[in-house]
Symmetry: C3
Subunit: 572 residues, 3 copies
């Protein structure tokens, strides 16, 4: 930080004053829903917006903390890094006190994280002066404005003098405190979370946080504010399945993705924190891939993906999204380009056009004509018209919504069959070997918990087939058709596997019922055999008395009549 440090010491005297006088409004394109939810005016000073954002961000009643199942689980050592705000403890093995320059020198030249320092050296953070000196022709020139914004935020927060400028954001600023002079490893070290990044990057922090305000479902299809990145950690820890899993290390794999809420480095990886990186589909891929939401694969296999793979190397990823086509040479869409856009503007709220949410359900399918959904569809169509005609986009949305509904319908049909089996007590081992899952999970046929918990005959094979149907096949159908991957919704993924699972469920249904019927017939035969025996016994006795006389004949006849009557009842 060199010379700016001296200047900073001098300038700290007037910070208190400058804060009071400071009146640059903090908000530009933050959704009105968020300003309203926070009770912040659009003319509020950065400090006011930041404080309100942080207050909610850290409020256990509004999605922060360990959540409603807090007593069911204990954090692992790795949780310090997944949610540092909640769990981080500085190391006890290193007690050295060092200043900002010392962090860099020591870590760069030792065995301890030289790679991290090397990445930071390539970051904007390591040389802000270079940003400040960019010519207007440079595609990264827009970062200069972001830098000035960051400085305004810091001034408003009392962390930077009114005429002071940043020259660098070093280890110490994020890991100890912005502008800190020194820190003691075992006492002052912190792991930064979104709140720390948001100190400078207030606009982006607010955009992220706004996700919880714009997911206001019209018929409670989902909990308020969800699904979203902003409440992603809550979604994780308040999932009964996750909280109840005994295998905590396995459960860490869920958490590893659900930390977009407290962390920014899931998209802008440490310590380069590259915006260009976050604009590439690979930034989304670690979480948005696989059986339950294969967006990355579907995109790559679409023609959109082809364009990216064929030409992406020649695009300039350093330009901001709004200039990607005009100045970046981009000729096809990316995750970021379509999902971070809303009505022509780009920001960190990625859920404003969400319609089918995480998984298609009847509560969504039956309400697509509602204005809430119509408005979002219109926003999507507008996005598509960047390259396609409105007529094309609408025609394709017919395909999207139509095929998702078709898949959903088939899944619902299978679900009814499964529910009936459960109701009839006919699932394999249902009466003999179906352990109840640990609290707070609840037993149910084909429930989500069965994808992560198994014991005895819970779940049964048919339940896994159904879980696969709605949580994998149907979602992949939805993601496939939404991303224009033909095999991704019709054949390789989506419809064909979905009806394959349907077929397995129907097959098993018939078999289970045939087996139950056969068992019943054998029950009857056994009952009959016992009765026959009794009758034979009677008959034998009767026979023996037959010679004596006809007096006992009536008894035998009655017994036989009774047996035949029972038999008919069983057969009916």
């Amino acid at each position: 930080m060199g010379s700016s440090r001296v200047f900073r010491i001098l300038s700290t005297l007037c910070i208190a004053l400058s804060v009071a006088l400071f009146s640059v409004p903090a908000v530009a394109d933050i959704p009105a829903e968020t300003l309203e939810a926070l009770g912040v005016s659009e003319h509020a000073a950065p400090k006011e917006l930041y404080d309100k954002l942080v207050e909610r961000y850290e409020d256990p009643k509004q999605g922060a903390g360990k959540g409603k199942y807090a007593d069911k689980w204990q954090p692992l050592a790795i949780d310090q890094y997944f949610n540092p705000n909640l769990f981080y403890q500085p190391p006890t093995s290193v007690t050295k006190t060092t200043d900002g320059a010392g962090c860099i020198t020591c870590h760069e030249d030792s065995d301890e994280t030289p790679g991290a320092v090397a990445a930071w050296r390539k970051s904007v953070h390591s040389n802000l002066t270079a940003i400040r000196n960019l010519p207007a022709s440079d595609p990264r020139f827009y970062k200069k404005e972001l830098l000035e914004k960051a400085e305004e935020n810091l001034r408003s927060l009392g962390k930077l003098g009114q005429h002071e400028q940043l020259t660098q954001v070093g280890c110490i600023d994020c890991h100890v405190g912005i502008g800190a002079k020194e820190g003691k490893h075992d006492k002052d070290l912190r792991m930064p979370d979104a709140k720390i990044c948001g100190t400078c990057h207030l606009q982006q922090f607010a955009e992220r946080e706004s996700e919880r305000d714009t997911m206001n479902w019209p018929h409670d299809q989902w909990p308020a504010g969800r699904p979203s990145h902003a409440l992603g950690y809550q979604a994780n820890v308040e999932l009964a399945t996750w909280a109840a899993m005994e295998e905590r290390e396995i459960a860490s794999g869920c958490t590893m993705c659900h930390i977009n809420a407290p962390k920014c480095d899931t998209c802008h990886t440490r310590h380069q924190f590259s915006a260009a990186e976050a604009r590439k589909p690979e930034a989304c891929a670690t979480c948005h891939n696989g059986v339950d939401h294969n967006e990355y694969e579907q995109f790559l296999l679409s023609k959109h993906g082809t364009v990216l793979k064929a030409h992406g190397d020649s695009w300039n990823w350093d330009v901001p999204l709004k200039d990607a086509i005009a100045k970046g040479g981009q000729t096809g869409p990316t995750c970021a380009y379509c999902h971070m856009e809303y009505e022509g503007k780009f920001g960190h709220n990625v859920v404003r056009k969400v319609r089918w949410a995480f998984n298609p359900t009847p509560a969504i399918a039956d309400n697509l004509d509602h204005e809430w959904f119509q408005k979002r569809k219109a926003a999507w169509v507008k996005t598509c018209t960047t390259c396609h005609s409105e007529k094309f986009a609408k025609a394709y949305f017919d395909i999207i919504d139509g095929s998702i509904k078709q898949g959903l319908s088939k899944e619902q049909e299978a679900k009814a069959v499964l529910d009936k089996l459960y109701e009839d007590g006919l699932l394999v081992g249902q009466k003999t070997n179906r352990p109840t899952p640990p609290e707070p999970m609840k037993d149910a046929p084909g429930g989500f918990f069965q994808l992560f918990w198994a014991k005895g005959n819970n779940p049964t094979a048919i339940e896994r087939d159904h879980a696969q149907m709605w949580e994998h096949d149907l979602i992949k159908l939805y993601k496939g058709v939404s991303h224009g991957s033909p095999g991704g919704y019709t054949y390789t993924e989506g419809w064909s596997p979905l009806i394959g699972d349907y077929a397995r469920i129907m097959d098993e249904n018939t078999k289970l019922r045939e087996m139950a019927a056969l068992q019943e017939r054998v029950d009857k035969l056994e009952a009959g055999a016992r009765q026959t025996l009794l009758n034979l016994d009677s008959t034998g006795k009767q026979a023996s008395v037959g010679g004596i006389g006809g007096g006992m004949l009536l008894f035998g006849g009655l017994a036989l009549w009774g047996w035949r009557r029972r038999n008919r009842e069983l057969e009916s």
Copy 2:
């Protein structure tokens, strides 16, 4: 189009004359089979070739149109874009008339498809003068010749004056008419198909169309001309499964790939129409991936794919395929390099070396020694000798053919087991809950339709296993070994999953027969119980009369004898 437009207006006067005099032959490397099929001489003028090609291309009797199941399905809105020649209707919402410059200006500066214009700006079409001025040293210099060819074609067709030159191919040329002065959105707008592209790119159009002429199977292993891209749309709409599917939006996913026949932009995507893009494997990937033909994945995981991924960025993709190694620095094969080559020349007929076609069948396996197959194998070996010795290539073809036959043999064994179950009426629910698929599908055990249609117990689980075996495992084995991906034919895909499905089929066969046998035993027991009851009844009565006398004894004894006899018959 600027100044050339003025020149064009003047020159149109002599077009009629120039056409008559025009004698530049159109055909260079178009397969003789095509010229023969069309009845066109190799010295024919471009117009003659073009007209004959278009006549066939549009002939419903030769694969065009809605096909033989036309009455079974109605097009969706999206079909306008999938097969514009059949279904496109201009928009009704826009009625403006505009000229060529107007299209560009308006779409570039509005919200409506600025991305499309940006892509076109990067295309060769947007600046043909730049192509004309390329120095001979430029890798794209060959495009100059293509441009001149295009102009010759246009002249022959009467669409360009004899001394007129193209400066640009703009929106209006493709979307209204080549050289059109203006167009009215709701009246004149068209969506270009292969026939429109072929007006200029006649050679390429003819090469594409030639695919149907070179797939002349010696023993009708496949319908004439198939499988091919040229008849790909026919293959789609004349598939009973596709035509009969109720879920039309899902079915659109099939169509989305089967539009190479009417469209060129599946490989050269809009609106950059890049040849370099079409040379990259990603151009093939959207269709050639997944469960039934994972060529893309198999290639990428082979050592050929490694070379591409490791070095491809340094290759010059702008050079034509024939120069890819010598001038483009290419050190490994690509889809295009091997599949578009035939006996040392490159073109848009991709099926001239096809042997195992879409899926391995006995009719192919049993005839590989036939000269038709031998000639194609020899052509392949020649392709491989670009980098490998002939001895190596032949040794590897032993692996290809050998392992496909081994997989096919196992699949056929499983098929026989399944067919016998069907014949014996033992499939799950076969007698109680097996709906007939809608016309024109035909019911059959393990049929292709079962991958896309399911109801009740049709298909059963075992049939899905078999469909998976021949349509997925076996094809992936074939594609894996053909593309040199070891795990792709032996383990991850191919053999190991194939015998896994075999094992499931054998498992189910045993279980179904055991269940049937048990049910039969219970039937017998029940029959016996009824008889016993009757006998007991008789015996009881007999006993009662026993005391009276021996006259009825004969009856009871006969009844018992009869029961025991029936019982033995059932047991045999």
Copy 3:
């Protein structure tokens, strides 16, 4: 080879002398275990090290050759290329004799492998003078030292004069003999293997070979020296499943990966032999992908993979691994960077930090506290501290080991269930249709062989489920968590599929036992029916004699008593 050839002819006279005097030690960072195993001092001349290495490399008693099942299989034509040292035969069709320049000219200008020559032209081999003239600032400057090392090795081996320098490594050097003047195709042509490459690249050859020396398991968890690339061919041919497979062409797919032992071009592909290529993950991908060890996929989907995909194009892959971060601009790990490193140094022994080996087993899980494993874990943690804190790395290793153990535990539970079914003879068809696999395979429930061999009811479906559980799900869990792919160990791969297979096994267990119980009940009923018949018969007779007198009554009563007693015994 031009002018160096003349010089070489002159200098060969003094080679014998120079060898004797030569004393440059060959070994730098070769593991002490290897020097000890070979009985070579660290000051040994290159020739001594080389000869000892080759002696072991070619020793059938130490892993070379066709292995212990040599009599069970015959090589295919392709095996000439898979293991040329064992099987290669020169072509008979070409008899021409040519010199080094002739090879190049003829193959470059003909149809026969011009692509191979083009790749070689891009290799270091084609122009060693260029390497020798690199400025110290060039990232490839280190190759100059490698070249000098190679020359020292050749001198020590008597293949290069003391003052002679290499200018080129041409076709003839590898395919006939280093420095050979000419060769006859059908007599002298050879396919190079690791031993040939090792002539020049002695250090690398020794590093590769050292793998077998550093895999000294403390409790025989694995055979000595395995798993490793160095004994990879042995691992293949001495696998009973492989040796016994009838489908030899399919089996070639196994071999195709198991030829790292005799070959170097599996990582440095022909004929560019690029070090940069081998540093890229794609070099590993052809073998390290798929159901049983999807390292490549898991890495790509991790944040490590994201960094590579987002920034890798800007890294300089030509720098040696040790300089990748400092000079190559690398900001994230690659396969090579982490796996070729050991205690800060880089080399071709890739197994020195191996802990869980190929697949997790109790013998490993139960001994992780043993110092052998602790030392390896410490070496790993040190690797991670290149970018992560030690505290983070240790916390993450808790996740790795914890989750693998959790998966292993569930798999073992399922295995016990399967073993019991086998012991009880209850597997489908176990008593009626379970062929014994061909020698040297041994039958066992859920054995590895069942992934590649199937006949009748061997394996059963439940056994495939188990094979999948331990050989696929569990290994992918291990690879997923080890490579930081969250969905790769918790959901898409790993835990969720693993407990899905567990559920199927438990489901099948219940069903098989229920079916067996039902069959037993029917057996009993049938036995009862036969007895009833007998009794009825008796009763009938008895009845008939009842009228005659009571003398026979005792007999009928006794018979009934006996039947009822047997019945009770069966029921108990």
